[in-house]
């Protein structure tokens, strides 16, 4: 009888809680960390990859595609990049839905979908799964980093219940409490994209389990405005570019560490 209110998403417990939603959120707090920071001239997203290992075949993601390894950071539209935390299979389905919603908007209105609208579209769908019976909610939180002419650069977070909110800097996934308090201390209004990249990498290096950062554990993306066209330009870093960036910031693995390991 203890599991009476656990088994159905659509039923409130006597304390007025929806357990399945809370469990979904719990699932997310064990997932790899995703961090987003809003700067005045762009946005930075970074994510910790959990599925790693010597035997994992990454050859397909080294060259092809639009960058990244396709585990945590996705391009939703030309003006929105998203980082996901939670059940990867659920995330893939949401990413697919988001891309279709963005294209539908483009078809109807001949403009890139406004960022908040895209977040709303996904949240409407997520909310539906907390209300209609027999279904399990999406075990996914997303960070949306986007640009539109209405509010320029924006960072949104959405959770399995279908709530969404805008942030200057935020974090989802494992250790999000530590990361958030670090961001609170370090974040300043009007930071530049370069400072934001530094901030994100330093917070990531402090919150991740491993002592050294590398492309096998980290996904990284930025969204800026192209200086000539004034259109948003998303850049999801390829593994080699992530390593290069870490080298520049002095956070990369040292050669001696490699030999001793």
């Amino acid at each position: 009888m203890a599991r009476r209110y656990d088994s159905r998403t659509t039923i409130f417990s006597p304390e007025g809680r929806l357990y399945q939603i809370e469990y979904a959120m719990e699932a997310i707090s064990h997932a790899g960390t995703v961090l987003g920071v809003l700067a005045k001239d762009g946005i930075v997203l970074a994510a910790e990859k959990k599925v790693t290992g010597k035997l994992l075949d990454l050859s397909s993601v080294k060259e092809g595609g639009y960058g990244g390894s396709g585990e945590k950071i996705f391009l939703l539209n030309s003006n929105v990049v998203a980082g996901v935390a939670g059940i990867t299979a659920d995330a893939n389905s949401l990413v697919n839905f988001a891309r279709q919603a963005a294209q539908r908007h483009l078809y109807l209105y001949n403009e890139d979908i406004p960022v908040e609208l895209l977040a709303q579209r996904l949240c409407d769908m997520k909310q539906g799964y907390t209300q209609y019976g027999g279904l399990r909610p999406f075990g996914v939180s997303l960070l949306y980093a986007g640009y539109d002419p209405h509010y320029n650069f924006q960072l949104y977070h959405s959770d399995p219940s279908g709530n969404y909110s805008g942030w200057k800097a935020t974090c989802i996934g494992a250790n999000n409490g530590t990361a958030t308090s670090l961001l609170k201390q370090e974040y300043k209004d009007d930071i530049t994209i370069e400072e934001a990249i530094k901030l994100v990498l330093s917070v990531m290096s402090k919150t991740m389990d491993s002592t050294t950062l590398g492309s096998e554990k980290l996904e990284f993306a930025t969204l800026t405005l192209d200086p000539t066209t004034k259109k948003p330009k998303a850049k999801i870093y390829r593994p080699s570019e992530v390593d290069e960036l870490l080298q520049e910031q002095g956070l990369a693995k040292k050669e001696e560490d490699d030999k001793s390991a």
Partner: protein, 194 residues
């Protein structure tokens, strides 16, 4: 016969349309407003088959308003134009198409620029510095080729519009008598007298 003109200038769009409601060879009304305010910074002049015009304009007006209520901010002029073009293009391919020509003038509050779109009943959409529909267009377009200035002040713009209206009154056999003129700029929509 029905005439509508629109011209852009420095930070504004002027939209003008005649105010005659005709039935066969009879003028039945002389103060009909054929320019709808679709959103705080968007104007639409409509002309064409009587009945179709009002029906279609109201359909557009309400859908643009619905978007604004749902999404807290209004559609930008370029997006609204694309959506309206789609509505006409879909209608053209239905059993009974709307026969409506439009001039859509708007001020984009996110880029601070005025925009004017010329749309016809076949679903043609073009962004233009000035545009016209009806028999008046044969006179107005050549005048505007000569006198239009995208950097003109509102007073100069209204003077250019006056030139067009006067020329149409002078030369067109079936020239309308009165016009309604509306302006959209950073402060929104307002009616002006010429």
């Amino acid at each position: 016969m029905e005439c509508s003109f629109a011209i852009t200038g420095k930070g504004y769009v002027i939209v003008a349309a005649d105010t005659t409601a005709a039935h066969s060879i009879i003028k039945v009304k002389l103060d009909e407003d054929k320019i709808k305010t679709l959103s705080p910074h968007l104007l639409m002049a409509y002309s064409g088959e009587p009945g179709d015009t009002v029906q279609f304009a109201e359909y557009i007006e309400r859908n643009i308003r619905l978007y604004q209520i749902r999404n807290t901010y209004p559609l930008r002029p370029s997006s609204a134009a694309s959506w309206i073009r789609r509505a006409l293009a879909d209608s053209l391919r239905s059993r009974k198409p709307y026969s409506v020509n439009l001039l859509l003038g708007g001020y984009d509050t996110s880029t601070y620029t005025p925009h004017l779109y010329w749309i016809d009943y076949l679903g043609t959409l073009t962004e233009v510095p000035f545009g016209a529909h009806g028999y008046g267009s044969y006179f107005a377009l050549s005048l505007l080729d000569r006198y239009h200035d995208p950097e003109a002040s509102l007073e100069e713009g209204l003077a250019t519009l006056k030139r067009c209206i006067d020329e149409v009154s002078k030369r067109l056999l079936v020239a309308p008598g009165r016009y309604k003129v509306k302006v959209v700029d950073k402060d929104g929509v307002r009616e002006v007298e010429i």
